[in-house]
């Protein structure tokens, strides 16, 4: 038995195991990548919108909107699987926003919809490379990315 044959066999075994590992992890890594990216983009969208609101800027999103009088900050972003509808995996992202001394508005308030729509727009951009229109429809309908659908909601809390 030649030495070359032995090396080849070991190499085939090692590469074979690596191949199996890569193949088995690929779907998981791919999904995790999508979820990580969506969470990151939603966080960036929330930070962007809150930064401008805290600087005193207002938006034409809706006339009836209550703006911050204290400094608001993004405390956390959570992502939760909410089942499968029409072959789409539904994920709900929740932005937790601290409103300082202001009374926390409801998630369904216009300011909540606005922040959610901006975050959704960021997710859209993250996967498509261009922006869409920030409006209440975007907030309500969420954004579809290949096999996934993301909804962003904002939960306000004092402090």
């Amino acid at each position: 038995m030649g030495e070359k044959g032995q090396v080849s066999l070991e190499f085939i075994l090692v590469t074979g195991v690596l191949f199996i590992i890569v193949i088995s992890l690929f779907p998981y890594l791919s999904q995790q990548n999508v979820l990580n990216k969506a969470t990151t983009m939603a966080r960036d969208g929330g930070i962007y919108a809150l930064s401008l609101l805290n600087m005193g800027y207002t938006t034409s999103f809706d006339q009836d909107i209550s703006y911050p009088t204290d400094k608001w900050r993004l405390k956390d972003v959570e992502i939760a699987y909410a089942g499968e509808v029409n072959s789409l995996k539904i994920y709900n992202l929740t932005l937790k926003v601290g409103t300082g001394g202001d009374d926390p508005p409801s998630s369904e308030s216009n300011i909540g919809k606005f922040l959610g729509a901006v975050a959704t727009n960021y997710i859209f951009y993250g996967f498509n490379g261009y922006w869409t229109t920030v409006d209440s429809n975007l907030w309500a309908n969420g954004v579809t990315i290949s096999d996934y659908k993301f909804y962003v909601r904002v939960e306000f809390e004092s402090g």
Binding site: S8, F11, I12, T15, G16, L18, F19, V22, I23, F26, L29, S30, N33, N36, K37, T40, M41, D44, I47, Y48, S51, L52, M55, G56, Y57, T58, T59, S60, V118, N121, Y122, Y125, G126, F127, G129, W131, T132, T133, V134
Partner: protein, 159 residues
């Protein structure tokens, strides 16, 4: 064996491309967001500068004037959406009824249409005139009855 290596290489390359693509789009978005937030802050500072100048001229009484050179208030750069510009929509609006300076910021870099910010001013008796040799753009002068802003009407509009 060659076939085996090629398949693995393709898988690894695929994963690398997925991860790199994610990082590139997130980094681009973060660059734009950081730039946009900085520009919004600068746009607000411009409004504060103008408001402070108007208030100072008003407070110092008849005959007092301030000159804001193009190095301080550069309308071309203010209006530009290029990397050094702020994307502020001209003319800047001085609203005498609400006693505010209203600034509208173009935020197309982050998918938003416009953001608006209002900065309070003290006087209500404000008017605008075209610049002259004696009072070049942008001079603010108190004539005893009015605070006069010498600026082109495409740059500043008094309502």
């Amino acid at each position: 064996m060659r076939g085996q290596i090629s398949l693995e290489a393709i898988m690894v390359l695929g994963l690398t491309i997925i991860i790199l693509t994610s990082l590139v789009s997130i980094n681009l978005e973060r660059l734009n967001t950081a730039r946009e937030i900085g520009e919004a802050g600068e746009a607000r500072i411009i409004g504060e500068l103008l408001a402070t100048a108007i208030n100072n001229v008003y407070a110092n009484g008849e005959g007092f004037s301030l000159y804001l050179s193009s190095a301080t208030l550069n309308f071309t750069l203010l209006n530009s959406t290029t990397i050094e510009g702020l994307g502020v929509q001209l003319p800047l609006i001085v609203d005498t009824s609400s006693r505010t300076i209203n600034i509208t910021k173009n935020s197309s870099k982050t998918g938003m249409e416009v953001w608006n910010v209002s900065i309070s001013i003290i006087p209500a008796n404000i008017t605008r005139e075209d610049p002259t040799i004696l009072y070049p753009q942008t001079t603010i002068r108190n004539n005893g009855s009015f605070v006069i802003i010498y600026a082109n009407q495409t740059y500043i509009r008094v309502l």
